[in-house]
């Protein structure tokens, strides 16, 4: 081929028509929103979906407790005390005062879910506000809030909860508020961290340069971009709060009689361990199941939003492929 030919195929710079590709670029997959993608990914994760099913089950049980529960949760029936599980009228048996255990389990789910969701909400709201202010403004404001976080983190949350509850009294509403006020540090650190990264981004600087107000930048640009980690954190907080409530109630500082909660039932069951060992099984199992389910959901959401998520292939499989390659060479 001659040099002339070569010249012919050289596109001449500056001529737009020459630079247009003859074919349009291959159509990429239909653009799908981040949320839509995440939802699809979430729904294809069997653990996350089963977690969702379990949580929904408990939510329904809690909402319709009055309809589902066969007895009054506080009804004492001393003639039928300490019935074993599988008794004709009491599927899960009765406790030492003859109260139906299944009924009490059902009503307890109300407490656990209510505490779980409201504490998570309170703590995430506080954490997000403090974290975003701290991360966006930095400097003195940041130092101030981070010292508060240090202080809060240096006293075990459980101790703080107990201290406050014993001072102000173990009211249900107090318990929720106090648990919320003592558990926001994690989300504050998280939001602050993402904000510190995001605020250096070009689009934030651009927004600042054209005079968008700080609050508007926080609300519109930064918060929107940290939604996914905040949601994941909130979900995991639900599980933590349910565990914390059961712990407080078990210790006698949370939910008070005649109300009921799984933690309270456990502390009761422990006293009658020698008489009816099975009583301790059910409430613990309920707590375990709900928290496990919530954690599955949280992990599912996190994985759904994580673009870098690896394919789970054991090294062994790769090794097998490699061996088959080597065999084919021989």
């Amino acid at each position: 081929m001659s040099v002339a030919n070569l010249k012919e195929i050289q596109p001449e710079p500056g001529h737009d028509t020459d630079l247009q590709p003859i074919l349009p670029l291959p159509p990429s997959e239909k653009p799908i929103g981040l949320w839509h993608m995440a939802f699809k990914k979430f729904m294809s994760n069997p653990f996350a979906v089963s977690g969702l099913v379990v949580v929904l089950f408990f939510v329904i049980v809690a909402v319709f407790a009055r309809v589902i529960a066969p007895y009054d949760p506080a009804a004492i029936d001393l003639l039928n005390a300490n019935l074993p599980a599988g008794s004709p009228n009491h599927l899960f048996g009765t406790d030492e005062l003859g109260r139906d255990i299944l009924t009490r389990l059902i009503y307890s789910s109300q407490v656990s879910l209510l505490v779980g969701f409201s504490v998570a909400l309170i703590s995430v709201v506080i954490g997000t506000i403090i974290g975003s202010v701290s991360g966006y403004f930095g400097g003195f404001v940041d130092t101030f809030f981070m010292r508060i976080v240090d202080v809060m983190n240096s006293i075990p949350t459980l101790f703080l909860n107990i201290l406050v509850l014993s001072i102000f009294g173990s009211k249900f509403s107090y318990m929720i508020l106090i648990m919320g006020f003592t558990s926001w540090m994690g989300s504050a650190r998280l939001v602050r961290g993402t904000f510190l990264q995001l605020r250096e981004m070009q689009y934030v600087e651009a927004a600042r340069a054209i005079g968008v107000s700080s609050w508007s930048i926080i609300g519109r640009h930064l918060l929107r971009n940290s939604t996914a980690p905040i949601i994941v954190n909130a979900t995991l907080m639900v599980g933590g709060a349910i565990l914390a409530e059961s712990g407080l109630s078990y210790l006698g500082l949370g939910v008070q009689l005649p109300d009921t909660s799984w933690g309270l039932m456990l502390s009761n069951a422990q006293q009658f361990m020698l008489v009816d060992p099975m009583q301790a099984l059910y409430p613990g199992l309920c707590i375990f199941l709900v928290v496990l389910a919530v954690n599955f959901i949280g992990d599912g959401i996190r994985d759904a939003f994580d673009p870098r998520k690896k394919v789970k292939i054991p090294r062994r499989r790769l090794q097998q492929w490699r061996e088959s390659f080597l065999k084919s060479k021989i």
């Binding site: 949350t157 101790f159 001072i167 599980g239 712990g247 361990m273 409430p283 613990g284």
Partner: protein, 323 residues
């Protein structure tokens, strides 16, 4: 390094100071004020006033605070108002007992968790890794006290293998073998909780390091994978693990509180709960402050270790490690 140390120590002192104010303030913010809280119920007005005067409760708040803080600094933790026992006399033995329980469980968990996590990072998604991940899920979702109760029912009551609760069998106080038998169950409960997070921490931390460019460089130099993992990766992976161990201290102490209650272990956590029910506020304040001191000192040690392991922590680095 010296400057780094000094700054961290000052920071810790500030945090401790704030904690003392929070604790003190909390008691004084209670409905009815400290008088209501500190005085035994059922006293006549006159007797109440005398007791309040003896306790210094009629003084202005800041003077009360300075007195209390001064007392704390000199090791005077106050007195219980039932029986007027010195708080330190009740408290110190329980601190010791908690340290025994926690120390054993924590060491035990670390010895298992860190090597296990490292191994799992090198064989991701293998059987061992899946097992660890299952244990993590269980450990994070299971209420510790329930696990404890279940162990008691099965091992102590049904099979009668180990003592049900307490630290020593009556009349055998100080016997090491007896102490060991009593330790097994609570340590198992605590270990599961620690394992759940530490295997995960060390695995994640190792995986992150193994993904770094300098690990690729190390491999390109032609060294055995074992050397890559143990010499080049491990030291870097320890850096975040150390920080997390420091940050986790309060969880450790609090986790012990519930376990101590389940097994009737005469530790600081159980004392705190008992005293909360009995409304013995001087004990509660003392425990809160002592716990905070343990936590803050623990964090400080973690930071110093961090600075030793990581040569990048330098004098001029703003905010040190914790912020």
């Amino acid at each position: 390094m010296t400057e780094f140390l000094i700054r961290r120590v000052l920071q810790s002192l500030l945090v401790l100071f704030l904690i003392s104010i929070v604790t003190f303030g909390l008691i004084h913010a209670a409905p009815g004020g400290p008088t209501q809280i500190f005085l035994s119920p059922g006293l006549s007005q006159e007797a109440g006033r005398i007791q309040a005067h003896n306790l210094g409760l009629d003084q202005p708040v800041y003077i009360q605070y300075v007195r209390w803080l001064g007392g704390m600094l000199q090791g005077d933790l106050g007195q219980t108002f039932k029986n007027n026992l010195p708080v330190s006399e009740i408290l110190w033995p329980t601190v010791q007992n908690t340290v025994i329980l926690m120390g054993v469980a924590w060491l035990f968990a670390m010895l298992i968790a860190i090597p296990w996590g490292i191994y799992n990072s090198t064989s991701e998604y293998g059987i061992s890794d899946q097992t660890a991940s299952m244990i993590s899920y269980i450990g994070f979702a299971m209420p510790v006290f329930w696990f404890g109760i279940m162990l008691q029912e099965l091992i102590s009551i049904k099979w009668d293998l180990l003592p049900l609760s307490d630290m020593y069998t009556m009349g055998k106080e100080g016997d090491m073998g007896d102490l060991f038998m009593h330790l097994v169950l609570p340590v198992s409960v605590l270990t599961l909780g620690f394992l759940a997070s530490y295997v995960k921490y060390s695995r994640t931390s190792m995986l992150e390091v193994l993904d770094q460019d300098y690990i690729r460089t190390a491999r390109a130099k032609g060294m055995k994978e074992r050397r890559v993992v143990f010499r080049h990766a491990l030291r870097n992976a320890m850096i975040p693990i150390i920080t997390i161990l420091g940050l986790d201290l309060p969880i450790l102490v609090a986790g012990a509180a519930i376990t101590e209650s389940v097994f009737n272990w005469p530790g600081m956590g159980r004392l705190f709960i008992e005293m909360a029910v009995a409304r013995e506020y001087s004990v509660l304040m003392a425990i809160t402050v002592i716990t905070a001191v343990i936590v803050v000192v623990g964090n400080l040690i973690a930071d110093i270790l961090y600075a030793i392991v990581d040569p990048r922590v330098q004098i001029g680095r703003k905010g040190g490690v914790s912020s």
